[in-house]
């Protein structure tokens, strides 16, 4: 399963101070204060689970905490909503099957 999302990266309209997070072992510089889902979209990486049924890569759909498509393992805890979780320096983010 490739890491890159087949979706052109989003861009940020503001320049903000950055923090480092780790996504599947790779270091990312991301603007502070934004959600994990936004941070990954900015890098063209998939903020979403892989479906346990069929294995398809899903991607954040509602971005308001309703759809649970963006559930990820954050700091070792699965089923956390990437759209509702703010990035923090040193945070580890991994994809989960769900």
């Amino acid at each position: 399963m490739p890491l890159e999302l087949d979706l052109p990266p989003f861009r940020c309209l503001e320049s903000r101070p950055e923090v480092s997070i780790s996504f599947e072992g790779r270091d990312l510089r991301v603007p502070e204060g934004i959600s994990v889902a936004a941070a990954l979209l900015l890098h063209g990486l998939p903020p979403g689970r892989r479906s346990a049924i069929g294995g398809a890569q899903r991607c954040a759909y509602c971005l308001i905490g309703q759809c649970f498509e963006c559930t990820m393992t954050i700091d070792g805890v699965p089923y956390r909503q990437a759209c509702m979780t703010t990035v923090e320096a040193g945070m580890t983010v991994e994809r989960q099957v769900g």
């Binding site: 979706l7 979209l41 991607c59 954040a60 649970f68 559930t71 805890v77």
Partner: protein
């Protein structure tokens, strides 16, 4: 584990909850405002507290920053707290919240639910592909993280938000390939008698006309009477196909944003067993409330869109009215004083309701938007349950939605039916001809958001509960 005690717990920091917090303070209540986002503002005013330059935002967002500032002074604010469970414990509601990976607890004598609205989903072939998002989601990224997608973007569906998002994207140089309007042509005729009343009562319609003019000026193609939408692509969306009139079209795009109106967020109302009714004008399930937002459950009030779609402009008024009613119930103020405090709010609401009636009629979603047409389309994204699977159950006379859930797993995923609920209900109604009441709605089970077992463990007492009645079970 210590529990903070309050007179009133307001859940949801959108316009209704913010206004309610200030009013509760004015009435002398000690209240707590709980919201799952990192900052206040709710969904409609998402990111309002971190806005760098409010001057570019327009008057409503400036007013919302004031609401948020006042609310912070009026109540204990718990941001980043998701309410996962509420139980009644004699005269108090015990509210359990998840903050990061930790469970916390607060208690209050009255509950005011102001959790706003959720978007109705439109399910079509390819809607689970990365690159298909709700228009509200695209807007949330813009408001909070200040993110915009790469283009070209296609927007599909019906309602004012669609136009607003299109204009906002264009303002930030994101190419918008087209707007696919699914509004049934017949709705326009039906809504016309309500137009005059609406024009003078609210601002949504006037703004909508402005947005439409802006899109036409920028030559964004708008297709009318659109149906049979499908997202095309392999790893993610590459194009969207659809029918407008008799012609089939195909447009390349990097993002498809959909919006077919909003529904009350009924998770909390369902959790605390508030009576719901089917509101045919939305159409959707809505909590039963009186004019003060009081529900069928003692001590529970609902305000704003969570009590029935009224829009962001109406929400603060509804929040103030409900907070005042809670204060009267708690004996903090006299009933006639309560009436006096909200006289203006009631007047404003009556005016806004006229516009709402027009909008509901104009943007009433067509059956082919509410019911996935293709059997292969997934209704439940979490458990991958297709429309065809639901229709097969309906054909075998299994059409009560909680029964369907137990057999098909539709609605058993982490979203607990927030997304698939309305789609599944409409599919079952359409397949059987049964009423909304006969099909029902998903029972809400705690926790409302996934909670790590470790968080419960930290919350547990060391001693086993006294269970004198039996020792061993087999089935359970």
């Amino acid at each position: 584990m210590s529990t903070d005690r309050f007179d009133l717990a307001i859940i949801g920091g959108g316009p209704a909850g913010l206004a309610a917090a200030s009013m509760a303070f004015a009435c002398g209540l000690n209240s707590v405002l709980i919201d799952e986002n990192p900052g206040l503002g709710g969904r409609v005013f998402h990111g309002i507290e971190t806005e760098r330059d409010v001057s570019i935002l327009g008057t409503d967002r400036i007013a919302a920053t004031t609401l948020a500032r006042d609310a912070r002074e009026a109540a204990t604010v718990l941001s980043g707290h998701s309410v996962v469970d509420i139980v009644r414990d004699h005269e108090h509601f015990q509210i359990k919240t998840l903050h990061g990976n930790e469970l916390r607890s607060a208690s209050a004598r009255r509950l005011l639910i102001a959790t706003g609205a959720r978007e109705r989903s439109m399910a079509f072939p390819g809607w689970t592909l990365p690159g298909v998002m709700t228009a509200g989601g695209v807007q949330t990224l813009l408001k909070g993280a200040r993110l915009v997608p790469a283009g070209p973007v296609v927007l599909a569906g019906s309602g004012p938000l669609l136009l607003l998002v299109a204009v906002q994207l264009l303002r930030h140089d994101v190419p918008v390939a087209a707007i696919l309007d699914t509004t049934p042509i017949a709705n326009i005729r039906r809504a016309m008698p309500r137009l005059a009343g609406a024009l003078w009562s609210g601002s949504v319609l006037r703004r909508g006309v402005g947005l439409l003019a802006s899109l036409l000026w920028q030559r964004v193609p708008i297709y009318r009477g659109v149906n049979t939408i499908a997202a095309q692509g392999d790893g993610s969306i590459r194009a969207v196909t659809f029918k407008a009139g008799k012609r089939t079209h195909r447009l390349d795009c990097a993002l498809l944003a959909t919006h077919v109106g909003i529904l009350p967020d009924i998770q909390l109302a369902g959790l605390v067993d508030c009576q719901l009714r089917w509101d045919a004008s939305i159409p959707g399930w809505t909590p039963v409330t009186d004019r003060n937002g009081k529900t069928s459950q003692d001590g529970v009030f609902i305000a704003g869109d969570a009590a029935g779609i009224g829009g962001a402009e109406a929400a603060p008024h509804r929040g103030r009215i409900a907070a005042t009613a809670a204060a009267v119930e708690l004996g903090a103020i006299a009933p006639d004083e309560g009436d006096r405090l909200v006289t203006l709010d009631r007047k404003k609401l009556r005016r806004l309701n006229r516009e709402r009636a027009f909008l509901d009629t104009l943007f009433f979603p067509s059956p082919d938007v509410r019911v996935p047409q293709d059997d292969a389309v997934l209704v439940c994204r979490c458990e991958a349950v297709s429309a065809g699977c639901l229709r097969a159950l309906a054909a075998a006379d299994v059409a009560e939605i909680n029964h369907v859930k137990s057999i098909s797993r539709c609605g058993m995923g982490a979203c607990q039916g927030r997304v698939c609920g309305p789609l599944a209900e409409e599919t079952l109604k359409d397949a059987t001809g049964r009423s909304a009441e006969a099909v029902g709605t998903f029972r809400v089970r705690p926790p409302l958001k996934p909670v790590p077992i470790g968080a419960y463990a930290a919350f547990a007492s060391d001693d086993p509960p006294a269970e004198a009645r039996f020792l061993y079970t087999a089935d359970w």
